[in-house]
């Protein structure tokens, strides 16, 4: 009985245990060797990731509030992997930081929040998880303690998310008022599509849109992404987004299936706006960090297309894409983070002639950008391909072939995005620079993360078994 119980919340339990270990370390002696401490934490995260493959059970807990199954376990483990990669990459930055343990405790508590959110079977549980995953993020955004922009980012993040949470909560309470329940299964039967329900759904969706920064709920991203430390920016733009998208898909498909016509149209607008505005923003960025952050806004637009598919293929393609997206985006962020930590250089102009002194890093960055742009044979191509395939597979109920319009717009945006991704690659390999970035010395941890990312990018696309596996879980 107890073992069943523990097995069901194994993923959450492990993260909590790691947090407690870190807490005890904090209570102990003051001075520690930061490098060995970081290695120790990374080993813990590796163990956490590996154990994510084993002993996964299916079932519900806490009076039907919490549920888990092999698909959800896989989603959690994808996030584990992403967190591990980010941790490996922030080695250089954290090495000189005083508050390593606090950083990880905050990071892991957001991860814990995401796990509860993914496993939620009740809107209350969902909201609890959401808050747990948001509030510590504001503290994390403030982690460059001496930088003013970092505090500004934290302040803006907490204020904006408080606002969006308020509206989300308002939506949830109206939904409760309209249906009398918060449980997913019961909700899905009660929904009939009255204006009140739709209004509350729009608020609910806007709360999600805020988290995965869909236009027009994305405005906070610019300032927060720029001000936060690179590791936090990559965490925000990859892991946090991935988690909320996982939840969004399952909530839409499971709870709001009855009003799918409504959310199809809503997603249509959001996706078109997000792709265009995200691309327009990314086009003008000169700062690599901001550039990657905005390109990730545009990527969300593509993911929304996959979600519009309303099929098992839609769900599988989103999970598959996020896996690939973690590899590609973190590969790129990793290089930028390393270069920024060592030399302090962050602009596109600084990257001119980067290839001259940094062969390995240039290739990692180039492969990641190719994957983000969706150029075959990198995994990004296959990821986008399946997303668009899922979106095209939606049979239109109205006379308008909206799905094909959406695909056409997506294709157009892929071309636009190609321009700015290739602009970076051109800067790295072709542009002349009298004063290129010096050779950046990389250590074991970042190198390991690059190997994971590049291998992921190159292998995931060709191993169609990965997609098939996800697809089989979704069905």
């Amino acid at each position: 009985m107890w073992s069943d119980y523990l097995q069901l919340i194994k993923a959450e339990g492990l993260v909590a245990i790691i947090m407690f270990i870190l807490l005890f370390l904090k209570l102990g002696k003051k001075e520690r060797n930061t490098e060995s401490l970081l290695h120790f934490i990374n080993v813990l995260l590796v163990i956490n990731f590996i154990s994510g493959f084993f002993f996964n059970a299916e079932g519900t807990l806490f009076g039907d509030m919490f549920q888990t199954n092999s698909l959800l376990s896989l989603e959690k483990n994808i996030l584990n992997l992403g967190t591990l990669i980010i941790s490996l990459q922030s080695f250089q930055w954290l090495k000189g930081h005083k508050h390593i343990l606090e950083f990880y405790m905050l990071l892991l508590s957001t991860l814990l929040g995401m796990f509860f959110m993914i496993s939620s079977n009740n809107l209350l549980m969902f909201y609890l998880g959401l808050e747990l995953s948001t509030i510590p993020l504001a503290a994390l955004a403030n982690f460059d303690l001496e930088k003013r922009t970092s505090s500004e980012a934290a302040m803006k993040l907490i204020l904006s998310s408080a606002f969006s949470s308020g509206l989300l909560l308002f939506g949830i309470s109206m939904l409760y008022g309209a249906t009398g329940t918060l449980n997913y299964q019961e909700l899905s039967q009660q929904l009939t599509g009255t204006p009140l329900q739709i209004l509350s759904f729009v608020m609910f969706a806007a709360g999600f849109g805020f988290k995965f920064s869909a236009v027009p709920f994305h405005l906070w991203t610019a300032d927060v992404y720029e001000g936060s430390p690179v590791a936090v920016t990559s965490y925000l733009s990859v892991i946090s987004k991935g988690a909320i998208l996982f939840v969004f898909v399952s909530v839409l498909y499971r709870v709001f299936q009855n009003i799918s016509v409504v959310w199809y149209n809503l997603l249509f607008i959001l996706s078109v706006l997000t792709m265009f505005i995200g691309n327009l923003f990314a086009l003008r960025q000169q700062n690599m960090k901001r550039f990657l952050a905005f390109s990730s806004v545009a990527q969300v637009g593509f993911i929304l297309i996959g979600i519009t598919g309303q099929s098992a293929a839609g769900s599988a393609s989103v999970i598959y894409f996020i896996l690939i997206y973690i590899f590609s985006n973190l590969g790129a962020f990793g290089v930028v983070s390393l270069v920024s930590a060592v030399t302090g250089k962050e602009t596109v102009n600084d990257y001119k002639g980067f290839y001259k002194n940094n062969r390995m890093l240039s290739w990692v960055l180039a492969i990641s950008l190719f994957s983000l742009a969706g150029i075959p044979p990198t995994a990004g191509f296959f990821g986008k391909f399946f997303l668009l395939l899922a979106g095209a597979g939606k049979t239109s109920s109205s006379g308008w072939q909206l799905n094909y319009i959406l695909i056409t717009i997506a294709a157009l945006n892929m071309v636009i995005s190609l321009y700015y991704y290739l602009r970076i690659i051109k800067a790295i390999f072709m542009d002349k620079n009298d004063n290129p970035v010096e050779k950046v010395k990389s250590t074991f941890s970042p190198n390991l993360s690059f190997i994971i990312c590049v291998a992921g990018i190159l292998v995931t696309g060709f191993a169609s078994s990965a997609y098939d596996y996800i697809f089989s879980l979704v069905k």
């Binding site: 803006k156 806007a206 027009p216 405005l219 149209n265 809503l266 997609y467 098939d468």
Partner: protein, 642 residues
């Protein structure tokens, strides 16, 4: 041994060779790349022969019918249930035969190149390209999926491009490789459209399922593809014709043949491998692979037949007038592939009427040996003389005895003199044509006379004619160059005695190839006449050829200029496409497209400027936009867009 245990090695070894030599060849294996290439191909060849033995003699048959065996299959991209791109290996009689032909000829070429390419600066690059080509060609012949064949089809095209342009410091080689690539690309575009139509109508990309569905007259796919029509022609005919255009491009069929003679700019062993024995027969192979579908569609078979026949005679006429020995061989290849094509075109599925199918494959098989032999001999000659021009040669029989004898064997074979292999296979092709269409038979007969004439014109011009004195150091080349010539000439001598119908027939059943003594009188007479005429004109130096050329006048000139087909292409592209389409398009591009783009860029700049205004940095402003976003969206989905 089970097939699946070793069959992939036949393909993967050349691929590994390509990767190894391509990445490290220049640094690590500067000298030994050739030996590595030969060794890899040797193992592949032995495995292919073993596979052939297993398939044909041990376990390929079930109830006296050769089965299609798929030992390896990997689903790569799944689109929908039933429609997927697979990577697989199919074994059926023609695939197994092609495995043997490709690996064997490739091995011979690898060995020959050891001597021929010796001292070349990019020696290991050459071998890595050869390995890439071999891998791609093998992948093409064993493809289990029509999309797989397309992928390898393009890979073959790429490796051909790389090898034709191997001497990239010569502008003519660069132009030739571009020409070959662009023309086959156009054909491949048609091929792709054909594939997509077939896949759309058949609901699958898998060869066996596709053939099964499209030949079953009861199936819904068959009914839909035959009843639907476009411009008055059924969709099936369209699809097959488009597929055939792809095949015709690769196989250098009229009028898409113009790239083949120019492709002779590549190293001669490459011409022997790619432009004689393997890649150029890919089109024939493609039609044979889809033969069950072609056979239910009279119209597309009719196209195949006539394109084949026209190519056969046209190329033979042009070959009589060319003076570059490799170009003569190139036109001869085109002519012989024409034979294979129309043999397929006159065939039907099953039994005696499937004779053309077997004959075509038989001719493909024997042609691979004697034509690669001819090219390798030509390579040996060019290696000695350093020229492709017939006028620079003559009396070489004293200097290169092995080349002389093997070249003679190959000439006799291609001319169809009994009992060499070419005689038997050409005999079956002619017989198939005779039973089906007398006009085709007439063309084929006349062409076989021409074939004998131009081959012996070549033979006498190179080895007899004027006596040329070379310095005493002139020798024939290394042992590695002679060995393939001898091995191939033995194959040329013996390949005709293989009872081919026992192995390959249109329905997999045993087919006794008919051999009629009185029927073979006419072709042999034609061949002998051709030889005698050639001997009279070219054995000794005289002015007879000039007089004949003068008396033929315009016809000779037209044939010498290859019937002006290149000029027609140039006229169409330069005058019509560039002036009528290109220039207006350029104008539109400069003024309208660029203008639009500039406008978009300007607009984008404006919009981002405007967005920047939204991005004020003030959180209360963000909240306002957030809230208005919700209101607008809610109004939209509740009232306007339900």
């Amino acid at each position: 041994m089970n097939y699946s245990e070793y069959i992939s090695l036949i393909l993967l070894l050349p691929l590994a060779g390509f990767v190894l030599l391509g990445l490290f060849g220049k640094k690590l294996f500067k000298q030994s790349s050739g030996m590595i290439g030969v060794l890899v191909l040797l193992i592949s060849t032995v495995l292919s022969l073993y596979t052939a033995y297993q398939y044909f003699f041990v376990n390929g048959k079930l109830n006296d019918v050769y089965q299609t065996i798929i030992p390896v299959k990997y689903t790569w991209l799944q689109f929908a249930s039933g429609t997927s791109i697979d990577m697989g290996i199919t074994l059926d009689p023609i695939a197994v035969m092609m495995l043997v032909v490709v690996t064997f000829v490739s091995l011979m070429v690898h060995i020959f190149s050891l001597g021929y390419m010796k001292g070349e600066k990019r020696f290991s690059t050459y071998y890595s390209f050869l390995s890439l080509f071999t891998f791609s060609m093998l992948g093409l012949v064993v493809a289990s999926n029509i999309f797989q064949i397309y992928i390898f089809w393009e890979l073959v095209g790429i490796s051909s491009y790389l090898l034709i342009g191997f001497y990239f410091d010569r502008p003519s080689a660069v132009a030739a490789s571009k020409k070959a690539f662009i023309i086959t690309r156009f054909a491949d575009l048609c091929f792709l459209i054909g594939i997509l139509i077939l896949a759309f109508e058949g609901g699958t990309l898998d060869f066996n399922t596709l053939i099964h569905r499209l030949t079953d007259t009861q199936s819904s796919q068959y009914i839909s593809i035959t009843t639907a029509s476009f411009l008055g022609v059924s969709v099936l005919t369209w699809a097959l014709t488009l597929v055939f255009i792809g095949g015709a491009g690769k196989s250098a069929m009229f009028p898409l043949h113009v790239w083949l003679p120019d492709a002779m700019e590549g190293p001669t062993p490459v011409s022997a491998l790619i432009h004689a024995a393997t890649m150029v027969v890919a089109g024939v192979y493609l039609v044979a692979r889809l033969f069950p579908v072609f056979s239910i569609n009279e119209a597309s078979l009719y196209i195949v037949t006539w394109i084949g026949a026209i190519s056969a005679i046209l190329a033979a006429i042009v070959a009589c007038t060319q003076t570059d020995i490799k170009r003569v061989l190139a036109y001869s290849t085109m002519s012989q592939i024409g034979y294979m094509m129309f043999a397929l075109g006159v065939a039907h599925l099953g039994g005696e009427s499937g004779l053309g199918y077997t004959a075509s494959m038989f001719h493909l098989f024997t042609h691979a040996f004697f034509k690669s032999l001819l090219f390798l001999c030509a390579g040996a000659v060019i290696h000695l003389i350093h020229s492709n021009e017939m006028n620079d040669m003559g009396g070489l029989r004293k200097y290169m005895p092995v080349t002389h004898i093997t070249f003679l064997v190959a000439c006799l074979a291609i001319a169809g003199v009994p009992p060499l292999s070419g005689f038997f296979s050409k005999e079956e092709v002619l017989l198939a044509a005779f039973h089906s269409n007398k006009l085709i038979y007439g063309i084929a007969l006349f062409t076989s006379g021409l074939t004998a004439f131009y081959m012996f014109r070549l033979y006498f011009s190179i080895f007899w004619n004027k006596s040329k004195s070379l310095d005493t150091h002139a020798h024939e080349g290394t042992f590695s160059m002679k060995l393939p010539l001898i091995v191939l000439s033995i194959c040329t001598l013996l390949a005709g005695f293989i009872p081919f119908g026992n192995f390959i027939s249109s329905d997999g059943k045993n087919l006794e190839l008919p051999f009629l003594l009185n029927f073979s009188i006419a072709p042999v007479l034609f061949a002998l006449t051709g030889i005698v005429v050639a001997m009279r004109m070219y054995k000794k130096e005289n002015n007879l050829p000039h007089r004949v050329a003068a008396s033929l006048g315009g016809l000779y000139k037209a044939a010498y200029r290859k019937f002006y087909i290149d000029e027609i292409y140039l006229f169409i592209t330069k005058k019509i496409i560039f002036n009528l389409i290109g220039r207006p398009a350029a104008w539109i591009d400069k003024n309208i497209v660029d203008g639009t783009m500039n406008g978009i860029a300007y607009g984008t700049g404006k919009v981002s400027h405007w967005i920047k205004g939204i991005q004020s940095g003030k959180v209360q402003g963000y909240a306002l936009y957030f809230f208005s976003g919700i209101i607008v969206l809610a109004i939209l989905v509740i009232y306007f867009w339900k």
